[in-house]
Structures are given as C-alpha cells and as structure tokens.
C-alpha cells in the first residue's frame, strides 16, 4: 500500500521551478531517500508533502489525504523534522515537549528520549541556550514521540555527534521494523546508502532516477546529475 503517492507535482517561486512534475510512490515499511544537490528542490518537496507548502498543480496523497486540503489532519498523522527549524527559543526543553504533547494531545515518554538521545540535564534550559546539536535532538524527539506511521526527515544528522548519529539511525531502522515509513531528504550519500531501501535522485525539481540497488550510489548519483 502506498503511504505517499505523488503525481505531476509542480511548484514555482516566481521564475524558478522548484518542483517540476515530480512523480513518486512510497510504500509502507520502507526508508526512502531523496538525494539532490543544493537547490534541487528537496526541502520544497518535503514541505509540499507535509502540508507546509501549497503546490501549483499535481496530485499528492499522504496516508490517503491531500496535504493541501487537509494539512492539519496530515500533520496529526505524520512526524516531521524540517531542515531549518529550531524549537521555540524561550521554552525550556521539557516545556517544549509539553507544548508539542499539548498540541498533539499525546503524552510523551520524556525519559525514553532523554536516555536515547543523551538529553540528561538539558531539558531544564531554555532552548536558545542549548547547542545546535541539542536543539536538533529535541526536534528529532518531537518528530517521533507520538509514534507516527510516517516520518519526514530533512538532513536529520546535522550537528549531531557520531554516537547520537548512530542512535538516530537505529531509531529510523526501528521505525521501519515496526512497519513505519521514513522519507529522508539529504545530500549525504553515505547516509542514504546505509539506510535506504530506495532512493530518488532529484535534479532541478525533477526526479531523474530511481535506484533500488545501493551499491556505488555515489557514482550513480554523480552520473544522474550530469
């Protein structure tokens, strides 16, 4: 069953075609990557799929719903880790968890995330006083703690130390083992190679290739961009 179904998705910003007829399908229980150079349209694609960006034309279905027509319903059912977003500056880490719990009307197992992402002693500080990596840990926690069936992650390992990077990768794999789906946008080829079941190469807002065999992914990607 397709959890994401995209057909002819287009989005322009003035003269720039950020998304140019994107077509893709993502099935339940897989980690799917979107690889592309800077400005290829990865973040725009993720925003369009998560109801953060209204597209110009095309058909999009996420967990059976249209993210433009039902953005709140889609966001209730998914988790999202945007590339450039921090938790609110003036809340402490634990208040931020409480805030997201209130909005999602779900309890959070803070202890689980404190242990998993090594957040001990950090949740009492205002998030603006945390390091970039610690803020990223909070953002990762909020994307996963309500146990969504589908999680969108955009450059998830940025600013994280190697130990936490491994734990986050384990988190993605656990999600897949539980039948969940991860939609990963990145330009880190080794990450896609390590985790993904399938990868889409994006260039100038278009899917130029779909790859299932992760061997020599770097060469395949570089070839696709020529």
């Amino acid at each position: 069953m397709a959890v994401i179904d995209v057909d002819g998705l287009e989005k322009s910003f003035g003269d720039v075609n950020a998304l140019n007829g994107v077509e893709l399908e993502v099935k339940k229980g897989e980690i799917v990557g979107v690889l592309g150079p800077n400005g290829a349209g990865k973040s725009s694609l993720m925003k369009a799929l998560t109801g953060q960006l209204e597209y110009d034309s095309g058909n999009v279905s996420v967990l059976g719903r249209d993210p433009v027509k039902e953005p709140v319903e889609v966001k209730k059912r998914i988790g999202a880790l945007p590339e450039r977003e921090d938790p609110p500056s003036f809340l402490t880490g634990s208040e931020y968890f409480e805030f997201v719990s209130d909005v999602r009307e779900t309890d959070i197992e803070s202890d689980r995330w404190i242990e998993k992402l090594n957040l001990k002693g950090k949740l009492d500080k205002m998030t603006q006083d945390l390091s970039k990596g610690e803020r990223q840990k909070l953002m990762i926690s909020q994307a996963f703690f309500h146990d969504p069936d589908l999680v969108f992650v955009d450059e998830p390992l940025v600013n994280l130390d190697p130990v936490i990077q491994e734990r986050v990768k384990e988190l993605f794999e656990e999600k897949r083992e539980d039948g969940g789906t991860i939609f990963l946008c990145t330009h880190v080829i080794s990450l896609a190679e390590e985790l993904c079941d399938r990868v889409f190469f994006l260039k100038d807002g278009e899917i130029v290739e779909e790859v299932e065999d992760m061997d020599n992914l770097k060469d395949k990607f570089l070839d696709s961009q020529e």
């Binding site: 709140v72 880790l81 921090d86 609110p88 500056s89 003036f90 805030f99 209130d102 909005v103 994307a143």
Partner: protein, 382 residues
C-alpha cells in the same frame, strides 16, 4: 570597524522596518517632538527648566532602551529576521579582542542613535522654546550615554531578569498551547513583562502629564478617565505586537496547527494580558484624576476587544511589519476610528446623559468586533 558596524546597524533596522519607512524615522521623531513641545510651550503650565529636564529624562530612557536592544534584543531580531549575527560577535571566530569590539559597538550605538533619535528629538524641543533650553542638551547627551552604557553593561553581564522565572509554560494555564507559549515568550524575552508596562506606561504618562499640566485639556476633556480608557484600547496594540514578535507561522508548520487556530491562540493570549493590564492602568489613573470608574473599565474592555478584532483582521499575525504599509496603516486607523472616535467625542462632551450612549457604543463595538472576527474566520476557512 565602526563604519562597518554603522552600516550593519542601518541595514538591520532598514530590513526590520522596511527601508524607506526607516529613513523617515528621524523626521517622524522631529515632527512628533516639535508638535508636542509646541503644545507644551503654548498651552501648558510647564516651565522651561521642566521642559529641559523632560528632554534629559527621555534621552536617558532612550539610552537604556538602545543599550538593551543592542545586546540582548538579539532574540527578537533573530525571530523576526531569521538567524542573524553581528560584527560585535566576531571575536568568536576572528582574532580581535572582545573588549575592543564592545567599545566600538558602544561608540557606534552612541553616534548612530544620537543622529537617529536624540538630535531630531532635541530639535523638536529647541525650536518651540526658542533655544532657551540649550543647556539641557548637555544633560540629555550625558544621560543618553549613561543610560546606554549602564543598560549595555547589565545586558552583557547576562543578569537573569526576575520575570524570566515567574511564568512557566504549563503553570499559566490559559488553556491553549500556543497562547501559553506566546505569553511565556513575552515574559522571557529581553525586558520581560516590563517592556509591556514600559510601552503602556510611557504613553499613559504623557496623557497624565497633559491632563495635569494643560489647562486647555481640562476644558476639552470633560471626563479624562473615560477618554483614557478609550486610549488604552488603542495603546493595547503594542501588546498584540509583542505577542506576534517572537514567532510567525513558520515555526508551527511541522505540527498539526493551522493559521486559524494560531490566530485564535494569539487572541486568547492578548485578552489574558491586555484586559488585566488595561484595568490596572485605568485604576492607576484614578490616582491622577477622577472619573466614572465602572464605565471606564467597561469602555477599556470593549475598546480592547474591538481593537483586537481590527488588529487581527487588518494586521494579521505580522502587525509589526504590516503597520509600515501606508494602506494597511490607513485601514487600521479607519477601523479603530469607527468606534473610538464616537467614544472620544462623548468623553470630551461628557455629561450623565451620555452614560447610556457610551454603553451603547461599547456594545456596538463589541458586536462589530465579534462580527469582524467571525468574518475573518470565515474568509480564512474559505
């Protein structure tokens, strides 16, 4: 380095306040100061030494405001402008001493805001007084520098304002996550809740000074407390501005909230702050002059609610930026005027026979406000 810092300051402000509007800022300060002082000189009982002292006091307050915003106001700018960094923080990456950078930053701020604010403000004082208060300029310059230096030192010393710990998310319990967060933002951002009291306090103070020292005002203002309660509804826009200063729709884009629910939360936060603050200001005013307290409280509440409806409808969730567009500003003024002008008129010519008229306009204002809010909601949904 100072030249580059001045350029940086200009760009930061012009981006924040949209280029051309910002360039007019000294002219607006001058005209406002000139108009006010023309009235003071011609219609008040204030003596020239007192006028000179008030210039020095305002300059001192400006110094404090500039010093605080220059250093600890970075949080507000970051939330409005996105990630920002300033030359003053270059010592983190470049081989230059912090002490040198801070000294140059301080000199830059002194010159920049002297030209931007203090000089046009002072000219507005000097011209109507025929330059009789010229010696006070020295006091003004000294107090501005002192205010700037002391507040910058406080900001740099990273002292925690008591208000940071008064309000916590979760214990303010206004029933709505975004409303809670917005209130926490105000209490924990630079200046804490004092910035609200400051912005309302300064304008209230001007009004009180006018009522007490302008014989002409006592002729025009038959019921100064009632007039003040209407003014409060207008001034409360500053609370709506602060509630929207630290976020936009973007930070909520990844969680299940739509713009309508965020706007609704901002309204809850606004009412939970603006109504009690308005009541306190009206009650505080009774220490300065007499009036019909209950009627004034009702009027303050209804103009506050009506003001919110107009702000939501016309200014949306970015009031700080929207107000600098002339057409939006005009719509806002006309929208507010529809209720506040009749109320002000009745407060000016007040007698007991107007009691029910005032209540009727308040009721109409509340109904109009509700209608505007419902209409806004409907438009958003469609």
């Amino acid at each position: 380095m100072i030249r580059k810092m001045i350029k940086e300051e200009w760009r930061r402000n012009s981006r924040l306040y949209r280029g051309r509007s910002f360039a007019l800022f000294p002219a607006v300060i001058f005209l406002f100061s000139l108009g006010w002082n023309y009235m003071v000189v011609n219609f008040s009982t204030l003596s020239y030494p007192m006028i000179g002292n008030s210039l020095a006091a305002i300059a001192g307050l400006m110094g404090v405001a500039v010093g605080l915003s220059g250093f600890s106001g970075k949080d507000a700018f970051r939330n409005v402008l996105g990630d920002t960094n300033y030359i003053v923080f270059s010592s983190h990456t470049l081989p230059v001493s912090k002490r040198k950078l801070y000294l140059e930053f301080f000199i830059k701020d002194t010159f920049f805001y002297m030209f931007l604010v203090i000089i046009p403000l002072s000219l507005g004082f000097l011209i109507p007084t025929g330059f009789a208060i010229l010696p006070s300029l020295l006091d003004a310059a000294a107090l501005f520098t002192l205010g700037l230096m002391s507040s910058a030192l406080v900001a740099l010393s990273s002292l925690t304002l008591p208000s940071l710990n008064i309000v916590n998310y979760g214990n303010i319990d206004v029933l709505d996550p975004v409303a809670d967060k917005s209130v926490v933002d105000i209490f924990r951002s630079s200046g804490g809740f004092l910035k609200i009291l400051f912005s309302l306090g300064v304008l209230s103070f001007f009004y009180w000074v006018m009522v007490l020292n302008f014989p002409l005002a006592s002729i025009f203002l038959e019921n100064p407390l009632l007039s003040f309660s209407i003014l409060i509804g207008l001034i409360n826009l500053s609370i709506y501005n602060w509630l929207n200063k630290f976020d936009s729709l973007e930070p909520y884009s990844y969680i299940p909230l739509d713009s309508l629910s965020i706007a609704h939360s901002k309204q809850i936060a606004y009412l939970s702050l603006a109504l009690p603050v308005s009541f306190v200001m009206v009650l505080a005013s009774t220490l300065v002059y007499q009036g019909h307290i209950l009627l004034s409280l009702i009027t303050a509440a209804s103009t506050t609610v009506y003001g919110m409806a107009v702000a939501v409808r016309v200014l949306g969730l970015s009031p700080n930026e929207s107000l600098f567009h002339a057409d939006v500003f005009l719509k806002y003024i006309l929208g507010m005027g529809a209720v506040t002008v009749p109320l002000l008129y009745m407060s000016i010519v007040y007698s007991e026979r107007f009691l029910f008229h005032v209540l009727a306009v308040c009721g109409l204002g509340l109904m109009a406000g509700s209608f505007v809010l419902l209409r806004t909601q409907r438009d958003e949904l469609s």
